[in-house]
Subunit: 298 residues, 2 copies
């Protein structure tokens, strides 16, 4: 494990590519390994123990690649599993998307006495109360409003964009109560949502700061790598290295690689090489040493 | 395996309960075993080989219960896996929801020279062309229109009902082209969709016959059991048996049983006993003798 090791990014499917996009802007020369668990998506409507089981297998699969840092680029997985799995994977440096988002939200709330912070997220993320905890820890006096917005991911994955009337109608419904309560900040608590940022910005108006957890997360990773002296070096001694213009992106998926490659363009703006398929057997045996799944509870 | 054996019904999640509902009307005294693969849902956006892997494990799990008949109560699973898995599970009597739906659609088309038949379904069901094949085999001259309607399942699972403006707007969008082409028959090619039948009926108008594949499937199962003399007997010799008012319903799920029980009421109209959770290990090892998963292709 050294500065040339890759950064690993994992997600239930495509949403985490918004984090890859942000990482490539902040750290263009880093190699990235992306894992999209497309056979098991979505995570957002499932229980903590089921999602923990999925992520445990992915982390076990990624371990031999010795990533210098692992980003759980999925708010649901961050909320449901990160606290439990950190202990099991102590040798890996793992962070999620919730803490950076919460930090940015509190910063954006500024000096208001009781800021009103809204969070839109999946059903499971809202249920976990992870955002409340992360926000309140940083800012005791705040009014926090959470809203599960389960239609947004399927709409984005269907290819609907900001000018679709159904997208606008759904967002209006989801945001009504928050706008009535005059939120100051809105956190996009799911890595898919930045795709809809233009229409969200329009609906909330210019007085509400919209926090994109993907962007915040990329900044956070850069800072951590810098602190650990693990940024990919731009020079060796006094010699400037002839770096490739962009680090490599390798992707692994658990369902159809072609479909993933096709939809990925929407998130990255560029085409990607065809991902490598990881079979259920490969994934299942990767986690063989890991703990047994627990019965899900609501 | 005899007339007292249960009927098994499997689905990716909740949708197959519309088939259970229909079965309980047609065959109230039969015991039913329901398997909802809630950890892996939805199937409708996934590849044939991934869905085949899921269903293979479920069939292996159900085999020891010796069901007298197995219904794949999910159009996607029927379309993608039934032809492949029949050979592997030859000792089991397995049918799906597409053939009965196609049969009813052709009957409803009547004596028109070239009937126009519309089918709404998941992305995977549409891609499989299973409905085209089933319809054209029965009626060479027909104009068939298919439309993937991926938002309907998440809308139903979010608890939205027929009077929700988003449901109406999405359905209007999805049905516009079909209504312009003057369909005579509309097949609801997903077992979730009957929940939205009232609004669909309203939108298509009374001249379009709406085919509910769940209902058709239940009729088909009853006929098959009758032919095989496997209907649960109502009398023994000359003695009438004191039958319970309703057969037993046992449910198995792969994710949170409490959440499933809560949502199931919406499909069945009555409360159910808490389902039994099937762990990933149990499911994985159930299929140990089965073939290895194949790489998914689009």
């Amino acid at each position: 494990l050294d500065a040339y090791s890759p950064i690993a990014v994992l997600d239930s499917g495509l949403g985490g590519l918004t984090v890859v996009n942000a990482l490539r802007k902040v750290l263009p020369h880093e190699d990235i390994v992306y894992f999209g668990d497309t056979a098991h998506l979505p995570y957002g409507s499932k229980s903590a123990s089921t999602v923990t089981g999925f992520v445990r297998q992915i982390l076990s699969f990624l371990r031999p690649q010795q990533p210098k840092h692992v980003v759980i680029a999925c708010n649901t997985a961050t909320a449901l599993v990160l606290p439990h799995l950190r202990g099991e994977f102590q040798e890996m440096s793992i962070t999620g998307v919730i803490e950076p988002g919460a930090r940015a939200a509190v910063a954006a709330a500024g000096s208001r006495q009781v800021p009103v912070i809204g969070v839109i997220a999946t059903e499971a993320t809202v249920r976990s109360r992870a955002y409340e905890r992360a926000l309140i820890r940083r800012r005791h006096m705040a009014h926090i409003l959470l809203r599960p917005t389960p239609l947004l991911v399927p709409m984005i994955e269907e290819g609907r964009s900001c000018d679709d009337p159904i997208v606008e109608l759904a967002l209006s419904q989801y945001l009504t109560a928050m706008l009535q309560k005059k939120i100051n900040v809105l956190v996009l608590g799911c890595t898919h949502y930045p795709v809809l940022k233009p229409i969200i910005n329009k609906l909330v108006g210019k007085d509400v700061v919209v926090i994109d957890s993907a962007e915040q997360c990329a900044q956070d990773v850069a800072k951590r790598l810098r602190t650990r002296s693990l940024l990919r070096p731009l020079t060796t001694g006094s010699l400037a290295i002839d770096l490739p213009p962009q680090g490599r992106l390798r992707t692994f998926v658990t369902d159809d690689p072609k479909r993933f490659a096709r939809l990925a363009t929407r998130f990255l703006g560029v085409e990607i090489a065809e991902p490598q398929w990881v079979s259920p057997d490969e994934l299942f045996t990767a986690g063989d040493d890991a703990a047994v799944a627990l019965r899900p509870t609501g």
